[in-house]
Symmetry: C2
Subunit: 337 residues, 2 copies
DNA sequence: GGTTAGCACTCGACATCCCTAAGTGCTAAC
DNA sequence: GTTAGCACTTAGGGATGTCGAGTGCTAACC
């Protein structure tokens, strides 16, 4: 019983099962793939694979289906990520170019990825770490309420309303704005806290409370901001690909709604050398995703923000991984410098 | 055969069916509701109701279930919208107070509504019609690219990147900003186009192309902006309430993803005197929602923006309508002046 | 007239049984 | 290590039978 052939058999099982959605038997295997041996031999190999926990039989006399572990080995075996078809490349190109707003870009990207993979696509808002403060605006909304707008050079705009705790005249507010702006314009968002402290220190005591409130809000805006938000698309694909529900979509939808869960998951996924992280079935820390797999990767300058898809464990990993990686690259390029 | 009793029977059927998810028969009806007549009489009434197309029997010897028309009559019969339970009121109060950002408020609201009704909740971004321009900011991103930020007094911030078609020095841009700001600050967003035209007209020829580009972008921001976006929550409820899928959720998810479809639908729904619009099953213009109902209402100063829920036709209309209306009112109050 | 009891009738739901086809695991031969 | 052959297991599908819920009708009743 040769080890390489066993792997070949596993590969064949995964591919056939992903394609047919039905347990695959030894006979079908020798017919569809030219393995050069008889079905009996394959049966021996399959028995071995089952012993190793890589495949399993739903019932005594059915074919085998891959286990999570089997998919894992399969995925790890994929040496080179399959390149995209020219048509897909073109789709990516045309759909992503000519965008302006960050929201827009993310929205389009995630839709594209959903369509490309026929899965649910998820994208996390990019991190601001490298962004630089371009502008700050304070707008008085009510006697004590001020709208803060923070504009970063990447074209990102963050906003928040704060209660400054004291009434401010328009002039005072304007003066504060000027002071803050002078103090932090051009600094990296990550460095903001230090600079803000200096600005606050330089304020007149009368304005101190307001300055502190504003400074806090700015700081909060700078790092938390939208990084903990995500955009998703293609939920309908969940229902479509699961007409014969091996994946009960309820828990998956719940997971998707719990953005915290998803973001955590995406962040925790270890990226492998090929640049794409895959988490299969019960490898997922979240129970609702026990029958789902996540394929994700980082994008942007630091590859810290994530983009990925979520689908049933029975998915076409090579194609999906290729799509995720390609879209992430295009997205990085668009958002890049 | 008394007419009032027939309606009473319809009401009972709807209530029982919504509650039990099973076709309801004449006998069960007389047992659960004290109608004061025998099951045979009820049978006669039911036959009449069936003739009128208000109820239908899934098969010869099963109980009856309401048709879309039956639900419609039932809903129209509800004279007063049932008030919320104190617990629900409290939930609304506590969850919606102390919010700052518009995005935040909408996000929380829609989650609340989804939780309250156990359905999918949808909220459209509010219209800007009454808003007034508070501030304008132009930020140079690249030689010809300018980020426009439009801040309205409601605390709403809109942004967009435009290609101004010519290179502008920082000074020129700053001058343009000042001119635009002077020209439009304090004007209602709906009036923006007129004022913009005047500003453009007053620009030096050299700056004209840029001014035109900026003006166009501002105008676009002012009316289109985000009104055509919506936030949704509770998709998982779709799966939960439909374990025995009378509602195939695929098409519904598709409809929800096609925001255009949903927004159109919400806008087209006629609001009735009770302040809540209901669209039942095939009344919906979109085929995918043939087995779904939408309960919606307007909110905000003009009640032009919509908030509502979407669920299976078999839903608890009175409670749902009450929840939608209550949440809409609270939301209006929060966003109000 | 509207209401009621009684009763025959209809069908879906469910259980049972049987058969078939697919696919395995084992053994013995190569 | 590979193969052919064969006994064995079992899900799935179809046919059949039974049960019970629920109807529609008719004839009696108030």
């Amino acid at each position: 019983m040769s080890e390489p052939r066993k792997l070949e058999v596993l590969r064949a099982i995964v591919e056939d099962y992903v394609h047919s959605r039905e347990p695959v038997g030894s006979k079908a295997l020798v017919e569809r793939h030219h393995l050069g041996v008889s079905s009996a031999t394959i049966r021996n190999d399959m028995a071995a694979l089952e012993d190793e926990g890589l495949i399993t039989a739903p019932h005594t006399s059915a074919g085998r289906i891959p286990t999570d572990k089997g998919y894992r080995l399969f995925v790890d075996q994929i040496s080179a990520v399959k390149p995209l078809s020219p048509a897909e490349r073109r789709a990516i190109q045309s759909l992503l170019e000519g965008s302006d707003d960050l929201d827009d870009v993310l929205e389009r990207t995630v839709r594209l990825l959903a369509q490309l993979t026929n899965q649910v696509a998820v994208v996390q808002y990019p991190h601001l770490s490298r962004a630089v403060v371009r502008h700050i605006e304070f707008v008085q909304l009510a006697p004590r309420k001020v709208l803060i707008v923070l504009i970063a050079d990447s074209g990102k705009v963050e906003q928040r309303v704060v209660d400054v705790g004291q009434e401010l005249s328009d002039d005072t507010l304007s003066a504060l704005r000027t002071r803050f702006l002078a103090g932090v314009a051009g600094t990296a968002l990550t460095m903001l806290p230090q600079y803000l402290a200096a600005v606050v220190a330089g304020c007149a005591p009368a304005e101190r409370p307001a300055a502190v409130a504003l400074s806090r809000a700015l700081e909060a805006l700078s790092h938390s901001s939208r990084e903990d938000r995500m955009v998703l698309a293609g939920t309908a694909n969940l229902a479509r690909s699961n007409v014969d529900f091996p994946l009960s979509i309820g828990p998956v939808l719940e997971a998707l709604e719990e953005q915290v869960v998803m973001l955590r998951l995406l962040s925790d996924m270890a990226q492998d050398p090929r640049g794409v992280a895959v988490s299969i079935g019960r490898e997922n820390p979240y129970d609702g995703l026990a029958e789902a797999s996540v394929v994700a990767t980082g994008y942007g300058p630091d590859a810290t923000a994530k983009i990925g898809i979520l689908g049933p464990t029975r998915m076409d990993y090579p194609t999906t991984m290729a799509a995720v990686r390609a879209v992430a690259r295009y997205l990085s390029r668009i958002l890049g410098p």
